[in-house]
Assembly symmetry: C2
Homo-oligomer: 269 residues x 2
């Protein structure tokens, strides 16, 4: 299956080890995960010491030659079937990087004095989680914390949906929410809980100061104790007949409201 | 499999007919589709003459008794296995309504003088499409048009992700984009195309007037001809290092910007 310069037995063992990274327990144990697709591989390579090795089909090696050529790590050619086995998505991209985990400790994220952070408490959908990382990055957030259990940020679908943003942000995982709130308060951040019954409308909350947004599980929302512990609880206004917004849309609206209020310069297009 | 009062052979034939509605060609041919889950069934029942019949497991019948009791249509009890066969989602909800299609002709949607509309050109992901319907509804949009081919609004995943909003909006399907633009222009709507290279920033576009937003395919964006035909092309600002926003996030930001500018009253929470 492999066509790298390494002896075949060694290469096949490495491929088998990579395949095991589709399991959360193995990712946790090894501290490694898979980043699939040319964009994710490119963004992973842009961070020092993240990519361990790359597996790609012949077709992907030729199509994404510029990505692979820039890599100072082993690159192994694999079959389409092997590429599909490394993929957790419906349409395998044919190129996968084995990466070292990139999350940072909670204290490190706060030591960098974040102006805008988001915390996801018990998110349950990996695609949603990845999309929210992408949105947080687009809004200029500094950090995203994932806590209270829930889906793994290194799940293949989450990594892919993040479209590289996993590698741009200070991502904190396995966060104990009480610790997060203590750290955010010490750092002087305004703590805002989002909830459909929030007492303040998003458009009426002053957002110029450094802010940590708390978002709950898609179905259940935030635990009541977390809502109570926040400085304010905020609802996104509903103008039509929908019962609520989905998590990804609510996140986009809240984080962009902060980005505007903090008067960030948008990136030149 | 069925435990309704209808003779078994007849009931099984109806269940088999419902199961065929998981195929787009059959939906198109029959003008019917499946709405899964208690919320979708409730919202479908709230519209006259939409629900033809309901299939539910014993468990769902007891859990959602209030939904089913309000229904003036046949209700058949089915096995869990049969419920799974009617489902296009990973976690079957155990309750499914066979519905008549609810889309409206383009002319009807414009005859109602929409203030805010969205058009999705070649959307490719049913979950995204449904989430965008939900967001458009939340933003108080009147109409959503889906055109240029792409995924079916009656796909089970799209219906479920819309969380009932499919039944709240004027949805227009199979739209020819040129016809849509002509109709929007005659109705006096401002036509805004979203594109990452848009010449105006979302925050700088006057949005108080009736507006039709155009959104393109997740991967390819809008065709150049459509961008050129619009009154303005608009970019959502990117403050961080993400290359772009995903379609659902961009839609939320654009439609909510319109809702704010049009000074709609948010629904009381």
């Amino acid at each position: 299956m492999l066509a790298s310069r390494a002896p075949l037995a060694e290469s096949n063992a490495r491929l088998a080890a990579a395949r095991r990274l589709t399991r959360r327990a193995v990712r946790r144990e090894t501290g490694r995960f898979l980043a699939e697709g040319p964009q994710a591989v490119r963004e992973a390579l842009a961070r020092p010491d993240v990519v361990v090795e790359i597996f790609a089909t012949a077709e992907a090696l030729s199509r994404h030659a510029s990505v692979v050529e820039a890599a100072a790590v082993p690159v192994a050619q694999i079959s389409r079937k092997a590429a599909a086995a490394l993929s957790e998505t419906v349409h395998p991209q044919g190129i996968v990087a084995v990466c070292r985990r990139v999350d940072v400790p909670l204290a490190d994220a706060f030591a960098r004095r974040p102006r805008l952070g988001a915390a996801l408490v018990e998110p349950n959908d990996p695609g949603n989680l990845g999309a929210i990382l992408r949105t947080a990055d687009a809004a200029g957030a500094d950090a995203v914390a994932v806590g209270g259990g829930g889906v793994d940020v290194y799940n293949g679908k989450a990594v892919r949906a993040s479209a590289g943003s996993l590698f741009h942000l200070d991502v904190v995982v396995d966060v104990v929410v009480a610790d997060l709130l203590t750290a955010a308060r010490s750092a002087g951040l305004l703590i805002l809980a989002t909830t459909s019954g929030g007492s303040r409308d998003l458009d009426d909350v002053p957002l110029a100061e450094p802010t940590l947004w708390l978002f709950g599980n898609e179905a259940r929302g935030l635990p009541a104790s977390v809502v109570e512990a926040a400085d304010e609880n905020v609802r996104v206004p509903i103008y039509g007949r929908a019962e609520s917004l989905n998590l990804a849309a609510a996140t986009a609206l809240c984080l962009y409201a902060s980005a505007r209020a903090q008067v960030r310069p948008p990136r030149a297009s």
